[in-house]
Amino acid sequence: MAFLEVHNLTKDFGGLRANNDISFSMARGELVSLIGPNGAGKTTLFNCISGLHPVTSGRVIFNGEEITKLNAHQVARRGLARTFQVYAAAGDLNVIENVMVGCFMKTHLRSRARARATEILKDLNIDHLADYLVSELPVAAQKLVTMATAIGSDPRLLMLDEVAAGLNPNEIEGILASIRHVHDDLGITVMLIEHVMELVMKISHRVIVLDYGEKIAEGDPETIAKDPGVIKAYLGERYVREHGGQQAVGSRE
């Protein structure tokens, strides 16, 4: 049985169709990436799955239970956590307190939340930042904090929205290791939205491609990188004509 199933999901914003009839499924323990050009509807899809946006039509089934109509906090309590692309930390909470908010989903006791948060920070090697405000940190560390906060809620499926955006190659290596650690060692099923192709190609078991709100391809990273439709979506029609679709999208190595 699939762990996460999305059936014919459509989302309209007024007259704009942001997601059109998208279906896919994920198995427990998979690591799936969702890619696509800007405005393809990736974040909207995340928002629909995690309950922040009501869907226009379609169904979402998580762990055998229909969650289509649930509110975001109810979805979260069922073990589906997510991070946000732009994490607007107003600066009231410091790093460990942020992570504690996540941990408070599973416990009422401050001592327990604090102990768990400390553990997670250590695990992600950011325990030395515990007392800083999130807004004081460099972007790479902020992204790790958002991951740590989501992990605090002890999820079964973690959806990461562009955790590598705006990072330099070194930092990308770091976040790659962290994602692998979360997936391999903590046993959390992971879904990524990502623009950084090196990361997507290295880490994903499977890639789903969106363009103009529709799913245009799905498969293992090598197949996707050679898919003419995907290359067209990213680089335009002319590029495909001139290069015959032979160039792989992510081959920057």
Binding site: S50, G51, L52, N71, A72, H73, V75, A76, R77, A81, R82, F84, Y87, A88, A89, A90, D92, L93, E97, N98, M100, V101, G102, F104, M105, T107, H108, L109, R110, S111, A113, T149, A150, G152, S153
Partner: protein, 335 residues
């Protein structure tokens, strides 16, 4: 057990803060033993009352970031419950106070549940509106004395009456409200470390993030609003026994609501000491301006001008108030 430990544990504050807080506490306790004017005593009592109002406001307004400008309606509910029960049925303060809190909490659910669908300015305006509506109702409601208000006449009782909280000397009132004040501080110290406290701070930061961490944002706000309300109503009950004459115009006016919010913001919204600092600055100014300048020089309304200037100064320079400045300096020192 852990809740009690958290309430009594102030160890996350720097030692300097604890020394200052300890000294201030001692000054409060011994203050009545030294010679003082009745004006100073009245100002002290006002200060303690408004600190408590501010603490209540601070739960939802400070930690939760929901600017509430309608706290006066709960002052009114508390004050009227206690006054009506005492005058009509001779029910003592210690019984009517929790009943008033109960009424206030019910009312807070009735208006909080729909109101928290609103955000930002709309919420603030709606709280003003409900407060004014309640005031208007009280002004025409004969059972509670309508616009004339209610008068508790101390002659009927035998002060000092600790059950009904009827005293002739202000010093008794001072110690009662000081007791509430210390309990309020302990409660707030627990609150800021509680699960709900953390959830609110997360909501203030970013509601979508809070939601996706399993927080029922709407319910958390409604709950906290009820807590804030209970605080304010409790002090409102005290207000009735202390002032002994209540009417809608001065217990439930918009001025009170604004003053409560302003104090907490001036001192530092979302911090434990903020409301106390804010009340410590504003109440003496208010008393002085009202009693001296207002009455003697005929400058009625000058206190409102001062409030307006303070609002502008906070929003321009340091939205997190005096405590925000202290924290900023500390952060700079650390780095």
């Amino acid at each position: 057990m852990e809740a009690l430990r958290n309430a009594l544990d102030f160890s996350d504050f720097p030692r300097l803060d604890l020394i200052v807080a300890g000294c201030v506490a001692i000054v409060f306790i011994v203050f009545p033993l030294f010679p003082h004017s009745s004006f100073a005593m009245a100002t002290m009592i006002q200060f303690l009352m408004f600190s408590l109002y501010g603490m209540g406001w601070n739960t939802i307004g400070g930690y939760g970031g929901q600017v509430d400008l309608g706290k006066a309606q709960y002052v009114g509910i508390g004050a009227y419950t206690t006054a009506v029960m005492l005058i009509r049925w001779d029910i003592p303060f210690w019984v009517s106070m929790p009943i008033g809190m109960f009424f206030a909490v019910i009312w807070s659910f009735i208006i909080g549940y729909p109101l928290f669908r609103l955000k930002g300015h709309y919420f603030a305006i709606a709280t003003i509106a409900t407060s004014l509506v309640l005031k208007d109702i009280f002004e025409v409601w004969d059972f509670v004395g309508a616009a004339r208000g209610l008068e508790i006449s101390p002659i009927k009782y035998h002060p000092p009456d600790f059950l009904r909280l009827i005293f002739r000397e202000d010093v008794y009132y001072f110690y009662v409200i000081l007791g509430f004040f210390f309990l309020g501080i302990l409660y707030m110290n627990w609150f800021r470390k509680s699960r709900l406290g953390f959830q609110l701070r997360s909501i203030k930061d970013n509601e979508d993030v809070a939601r996706s961490l399993g927080i029922n944002v709407h319910w958390a706000k409604v709950k906290t609003y009820a807590i804030a309300t209970a605080f304010v109503s409790m002090v409102g009950s005290f207000h009735a026994c202390y002032i002994k004459s209540i009417e809608p115009e001065d217990t439930m006016s918009l001025d009170i609501s604004i003053l409560i919010a302003l104090m907490a913001m001036l001192g530092g919204a979302g911090s434990l000491w903020g409301p106390v600092i804010g009340a410590g600055i504003l109440i003496p100014i208010k008393s002085y301006l009202k009693e001296w300048l207002g009455a003697q020089a005929g400058l009625v309304g000058i206190d409102l001008i001062i409030y307006a200037l303070i609002i502008m100064a906070i929003s321009a320079f340091e939205p997190r108030g005096v405590w925000g400045i202290v924290e900023k300096i500390r952060r700079r020192r650390r780095d």
